[in-house]
Amino acid sequence: MMLAMLGEAWRAMGTNRLRTFLTMLGMVIGVGAVVLMMAIGQGAQYAIKQSISSMGSNLFILLAGHTSSGGVRSGSGGAHTLTVDDAEAIAELPGIQAAAPVHPGSAQVIYGPNNWNTAIIGTTPAYLDARSWTVTSGSAFTDSDVRSATRIALIGKTAAENLFGDEDPVGKTIRIRQSPFVILGTLSVKGQSMDGRDQDDTLIIPLTTAQRQVFGTDFPGSVRMIMAQATTQEIMPSVEKDMTALLRQRHRLREGMDNDFFLRNLTAVANSAAESTRIMSMLLGAIASVSLLVGGIGIMNIMLVSVTERTREIGIRMAIGARERDILMQFLLEAIIISVVGCLIGLLLGISGALLVEMFTGTSVIISFGSVAVAFGVAATVGIFFGFYPARKAAQLDPIEALRYQ
């Protein structure tokens, strides 16, 4: 019986192919849009989560303040207000997991016939903890290496590939600005940072070595940047206050004076970025769902027209013994077939669209089973919901009136 009705519904749809196709198109576009938008949105969320976790969790970044001489302002980090001692004091604060002074820079690095300009981070061993960075082969340097300003380095994957190719860098000697450095270990892969920088294109060397032998500084003991890691995300706001108070006290800033440093809660920044992406993808999904709704209304519209056109047929069917529920089922099935077939086509288009986006723009997209299931479920529901009213209208026709209808 069901099979016979399915066949009939299929036939009824086949008699007006263009109309069926156009009705379906609303559904196709709706589902396609939902799937595509969700794929892009979830891809963006994933990318942001990746970069957050690559940055390290619960991270603060402290930048030295700026100088101002003769009206020329240096930009943050230009003043020499942060010191290695500040970093040590911060590390003592309750709720701080690790704090590391950082001297960033870049230099030309040479190994044999190869040379490569890469980022160089002068810091202490605590930096690796703060950034949740690990050493995959060889070993990390220690505090005693920092004290004695040893010429050793840890190397990121990208830098290693450019300098060493397939060779194992551990134990090899490279030259940074003429000074020989021994590669002590290789760093785990971090991927892109939030601003798209390749975090693996880097060398990490002891802070003292960086300041005295590579970059040189007029103010030994001061640094441009301190990275600090809180133990948990919840305490970050209070730790932020404590840190500010500590530094103001250490820098002898009186009430009313501006901070001579900048303190950023990187995790909060990253989380708000993730949150806004999430909201954005929800918004896109919502807009796309509106097209699903419009598609559903299109189905209802056409089904109503179809019921009117086929009034006489309905009358005939009733006269030869169709019950209300038979008529209801017949029209409902038509609406469901249209929306489900439309949905399947929409899924195909949405998924291939998402893959094309990934292929051509490099944006990561994620087609989750959940989003596909949601789109499919919504489409079927839309079919039933918007198909029900016309179908019920058909089923409740008066057989005599329907038979008389021309």
Binding site: M1, A4, M5, R317, M318, A319, A322, L403
Partner: protein, 233 residues
């Protein structure tokens, strides 16, 4: 005494119109026993179509009672009425009322869908009935490819497919020329001969003459009910 197929007592039907209540049928009494061939006659507006709709369980009377095979129609629900239309009654219409998008065999088999028969069985029954009305070779044609007389034969085959004991025909020859009309009537004669009760509405005397009994309506009442004189050669 044999229980009649149809027993109608003091049946009335009125419609609400903007001009007030309009009585289409007034205290109609009629009994039809199994195997009868009854012609219902009367001018337009005499109530014969309303009467047929009630006989066919498409409409319910306002007053009075209608017993079909001994059971009162008034107590039945919509689904039970549909079941009666499906199994007990076969309809033949003036305009044939075939579904244009289905082949002839599918049209004939349509009532069987609603009693849940399998595809194979539906197909066989349709072919069986089509050969009975002499259209076995047209089974896969579409309705618009055959003549009016042939379409009416298909409609009769459809009416018979569920083996009803009662055929209701509303002006079955109204859209046909007189020769084709007579051919259709001989088919009815044949069915009646097999024992099927036939009630047909017509206003043509030639057609009514095939029936064994003629009931005349005027203004919602039966004005005459008599056996047909044997005038046929």
């Amino acid at each position: 005494m044999k229980e009649p197929v149809i027993r109608i007592e003091e049946l009335g039907k009125s419609y609400q119109t903007s001009a007030g209540e309009f009585p289409a049928l007034k205290s109609v009494n009629l009994s039809i026993t199994s195997g009868e061939f009854v012609a219902i006659m009367g001018p337009s507006g005499s109530g014969k179509s309303t009467f047929m709709n009630i006989l066919g369980c498409l409409d319910k009377p306002s007053t009075g009672r209608y017993f079909l095979n001994g059971s009162s129609i008034a107590e039945l629900g919509k689904d039970e009425l549909a079941l009666l239309r499906n199994r007990t009654i076969g309809f033949v219409f003036q305009g044939f009322n075939l579904l244009p998008r289905m082949s002839i065999a599918e049209n004939v088999a349509l009532p069987l869908i609603y009693c849940g028969l399998e595809h194979e069985e539906r197909r066989n029954r349709a072919r069986e009935l089509l050969s009975k009305v002499g259209l076995a070779s047209h089974a896969e044609s579409m309705p618009n490819k055959i003549s009016g007389g042939q379409q009416q034969r298909v409609a009769i085959a459809r009416a018979l497919v569920n083996r009803p004991r009662l055929i209701l025909a509303d002006e079955p020859t109204g859209n046909l020329d007189s020769k084709t009309g007579q051919e259709i009537m001989s088919l009815f004669d044949e069915l009646n001969h097999e024992g099927i009760t036939i009630i047909l509405v017509t206003h043509e005397e030639d057609i009514a003459r095939h029936a064994k009994r003629q009931v005349r309506f005027l203004d919602g009442r039966i004005i005459s009910d008599e056996l047909t004189r044997e005038t046929m050669p």
